[in-house]
Amino acid sequence: MKNWPLYEIFIRSKQGLHHKHVGSLHATDSTMAMENARDVYTRRQEGVSIWVVESKHITASNPDDSEELFDPAADKVYRHPTFYDLPDELKHM
């Protein structure tokens, strides 16, 4: 028999925080994925909210493209507050 579809599971650990990827599991549909995610990933109060997304719907960046995607940010120090020289007597900025 074929494998059941794969779902990626995201959990919000408490109110105010982002949902974070915690792993994946197989389920026939999103209802079952939700039920299983609750049993597999929140047995010890690890979450207050669950997202399930069928893995095939996720578009991921390719590691081979990492240099062109992410390296350009490396030499843009002027995007950070510490790039700017201010006098010491200026507090709280």
Partner: protein, 311 residues
């Protein structure tokens, strides 16, 4: 730098390898074998413990044991999912377990004959597993390392649960104390074997260490285990069944006796007390559950069609 050198340089710098990154074929194969073997161990490991759920001596013991067995299922699922990120299918992994081409930890081919065995599994078997698993949280392969962090968090409850069972027996009647000692006598050596063959007979250790899949050799972990258990055994007032265990001032470790490697290889090859029974139980559950899996899939497809029709 070629691909292999780039890969090794990342590993050396403790940068995790993620599923879509380039990796040597042998690294991928080693991980699939190791992670799936680990997943199978969690799943088969439910069987000897499940054996005692209906006969747990109190409600407190029963809820603890049920929660523990449920955790083992969860650990198996985390690990299967980690293995699948390497491009192997879940069904393929199941087939390999069922046809005997994949192994699982030999420890689960020993029977649970008394209630004390549930305690011994928690103390010794989970204790040995923790020794093995804690360094795996720093494994170079991201999904495996993350799964292991989760597993290790839960595993410490398992060990304490087991130790408490034994502690109660150690304060009980003469019969309970005897049950405790008899159980430790049976589980000690198989637990020592859980760390695998000695370093001299473990040909892949060097490569796995270079790839940072492994952080310690089998013998290093086994030594840690002996050192820790010696003190814990005193709390339980039990004797470890090895007359050669004694403190070695020079090494700063306990010496221990020779492991019966013939028994180890015999159980690995399928001739342990419960090998056939364990696999037969797994295969039966899988086959008898086939109609449930098919029905669930058919139901989901029907719901999907119905939704599309309405839309």
């Amino acid at each position: 730098m070629n691909l292999e050198e780039k890969f090794q340089s990342k590993v050396d710098q403790e940068i995790k390898i993620e599923p879509k990154d380039w990796m040597p074929d042998a690294y991928r194969k080693t991980l699939i074998r190791q992670i799936s073997q680990h997943a199978h161990s969690e799943i088969v490991g439910m069987l000897p413990e499940g054996n005692w759920i209906t006969r747990a001596p109190s409600l407190r013991r029963k809820v603890g044991l049920i929660a523990k067995v449920q955790d083992e299922a969860g650990h198996g699922l985390y690990l299967y999912a980690a293995a699948e990120t390497l491009g192997v299918e879940r069904n393929t992994l199941f087939e390999q377990l069922h046809d005997g081409s994949a192994k699982y930890s030999s420890i689960f081919n020993y029977p649970t004959l008394s209630w004390a065995d549930i305690g011994s599994i928690g103390w010794l078997v989970d204790g040995a597993a923790i020794m093995n698993q804690v360094p795996l949280c720093r494994c170079s392969f991201g999904p495996y390392a993350r799964a292991m962090v989760r597993v290790c968090k839960e595993e410490s409850f398992h060990q304490r649960q087991g130790f408490e069972i034994l502690l109660a027996l150690s304060k009980g009647t003469e019969a309970q104390k005897a049950m405790l000692q008899e159980s430790v006598n049976r589980w000690w050596w198989p637990s020592m074997m859980m760390f695998g063959p000695s370093d001299a007979d473990s040909p892949h250790t060097a490569r796995s260490m270079k790839w940072k899949i492994k952080r310690f050799t089998n013998d290093e972990l086994r030594q840690k285990f002996v050192d820790v258990c010696y003190e814990q055994a005193k709390v339980l007032n039990v004797t470890l069944p090895d007359p050669d265990i004694k403190w070695n001032e020079e090494r700063g470790h306990f010496d221990y006796g020779e492991i019966n490697w013939d028994e180890f290889w015999d159980v690995v090859k399928g001739n342990g007390p419960c090998n056939k029974q364990r696999i037969a139980t797994r295969v039966k559950a899988h086959e008898e559950g086939a109609w449930v899996r098919e029905a669930a899939m058919a139901y989901a497809e029907k719901q999907e069609q119905r939704k599309n029709k309405v839309a």
